[in-house]
Structures are given as structure tokens and as C-alpha cells.
């Protein structure tokens, strides 16, 4: 998949199709699509400086009977490796009430949506692992 605007559309379509038929509700599907959208957009804008680049994507269901139903999605880019993910934390929404600023919400949304969000710097890029706890989400919604 190419890290460009067209690639983002393709990723959204992929997420939408993957979620259909597995009994996820509208909010769960929207959250998965949103987290992928935000990460993909960040890789495109910051990793590839809006010039495009490859992004590999894989997904698998995990979990057993009686345990949470987890969806693990991995994205792998070939952009310059980020050494300290803490620099990408984004804006703190708590501060927006008094000092509204535009931008920086994407990473906050990813952290809010996912059970686990991990970044691994590689020699030639970055790996991103997102885990969605869909049973828990189901109870929330």
C-alpha cells in the first residue's frame, strides 16, 4: 500500500470491508477506521513528508473463548526511524478548554481508542502495533 491520499482511501475501504460481517457495531468499526486513518495520515505527512512511500499492513484476530476478543493490526513503514515515540504524543485535550489549538489530536485519538499502541524503530523504518479490545468496546457502547 502506498502512503498517500489514495492509499488512505484504500486503507479506509479495507478496514470497512474487514469489519463488515464480523458483528462489530458502527462505533467499533468507526474507531478502528479512525485509528488507522490517523496513523496512516501521520506516516504519510511526517514519515514520508507527503511524498508517498510504502506501508505494509497486516491484521489478525486473537483471543480465546471467555477471553477478550482482540484485533491486532500492524503497520510497517520505510520512513526514517523514530527513536522516541514520546515526541509524537500530541496535544493534551485537557488544555483545549482554555487554549484551543488546532492539530495534534491524532495521536491522542489513537491512544484513546487502542488497548495497546506500540512503536518499534527498525533499521529501515518503523513498525506500529495496534491492539483493539473489541469485547471491552462492546461493553462500553
Amino acid at each position: 500500500m502506498t502512503g498517500c491520499k489514495e492509499g488512505l482511501q484504500a486503507l479506509q475501504h479495507l478496514a470497512d470491508q474487514a469489519c463488515k460481517g464480523v458483528c462489530l457495531n458502527a462505533i467499533q468499526i468507526n474507531r478502528i477506521a479512525l485509528a488507522l486513518d490517523e496513523l496512516f495520515a501521520n506516516i504519510h505527512a511526517h514519515g514520508y513528508a507527503n511524498q508517498g512511500g510504502d506501508i505494509d499492513c497486516s491484521a489478525k484476530w486473537t483471543g480465546q473463548e471467555g477471553k477478550p476478543c482482540l484485533l491486532e493490526i500492524k503497520l510497517r513503514d520505510y520512513a526514517p526511524a523514530i527513536q522516541d515515540i514520546k515526541t509524537c504524543k500530541g496535544v493534551d485535550p485537557e488544555t483545549l478548554k482554555d487554549h484551543p489549538v488546532a492539530g495534534g489530536l491524532g495521536m491522542h485519538l489513537i491512544y484513546a481508542i487502542t488497548e495497546t499502541f506500540e512503536h518499534t524503530p527498525l533499521e529501515d523504518g518503523n513498525q506500529w502495533r495496534l491492539v483493539f479490545n473489541l469485547k471491552e468496546e462492546d461493553e462500553k457502547t
Partner: protein, 103 residues
């Protein structure tokens, strides 16, 4: 998906009806529609989002500019008709209590 935007004026109020997904690709269209209002003499801007099913952080960032405008000029920036999924994004971002949301 492209964005369809209609703006109506009634006195010192403006209503912007948005249809489609508000994403990093389409949010500049919404921003272009809002920007002139921020320098006009309107006192109330209502953004009607009934037909928006998906909004990402770039869309929210565009609306935060409306929030900034309302604080600057003591105006009202109102979001109306949020779908279940869009409202959920505002709640995730903890912005549901910061924006004036109706309907």
C-alpha cells in the same frame, strides 16, 4: 468521498451544512468555507453535521478554529446534529464538553 457544503446566512447568523466524510483530504474544503466567516460580522456560526458519518482529527482541528474564533469575538460556534460515530470521536477527544453541541 468528497464533501458537499452549503452555507446559508440569516442576519448575523450563518449555518453551514456539511455532507460527506471530513478527513485530511476534505477538511480543507470545510476550512475554506469557514475562514471568510471568521472575518465577517456574523455572531453565530452553526455547523450542521447530520450527514457526516466519519470525521478524523483534521476535521476536528478545523472545528477547533471555530472555537478559537468564538472565544476571540465572543461569538457562538455551534455544532448540530452529530451522528453517533462523530459524537463518539468528540467524546474520545474529550471535546464534547468544550464545544457547544446541540441536537
Amino acid at each position: 468521498m468528497s464533501l458537499h457544503i452549503e452555507t446559508e446566512h440569516a442576519g448575523k447568523a450563518a449555518s453551514i451544512t456539511v455532507t460527506g466524510d471530513v478527513t485530511i483530504q476534505t477538511s480543507p474544503e470545510l476550512r475554506n468555507e469557514l475562514q471568510p466567516l471568521f472575518t465577517s460580522d456574523v455572531e453565530v456560526i452553526r455547523v450542521v453535521l447530520n450527514d457526516v458519518k466519519f470525521m478524523d482529527s483534521s476535521g476536528i482541528a478545523t472545528l477547533v478554529e471555530g472555537l478559537q474564533w468564538s472565544k476571540r469575538v465572543k461569538g457562538r460556534f455551534v455544532l448540530s446534529g452529530l451522528s453517533e460515530t462523530v459524537r463518539d470521536v468528540f467524546e474520545l477527544a474529550k471535546l464534547d464538553t468544550i464545544f457547544e453541541i446541540e441536537g
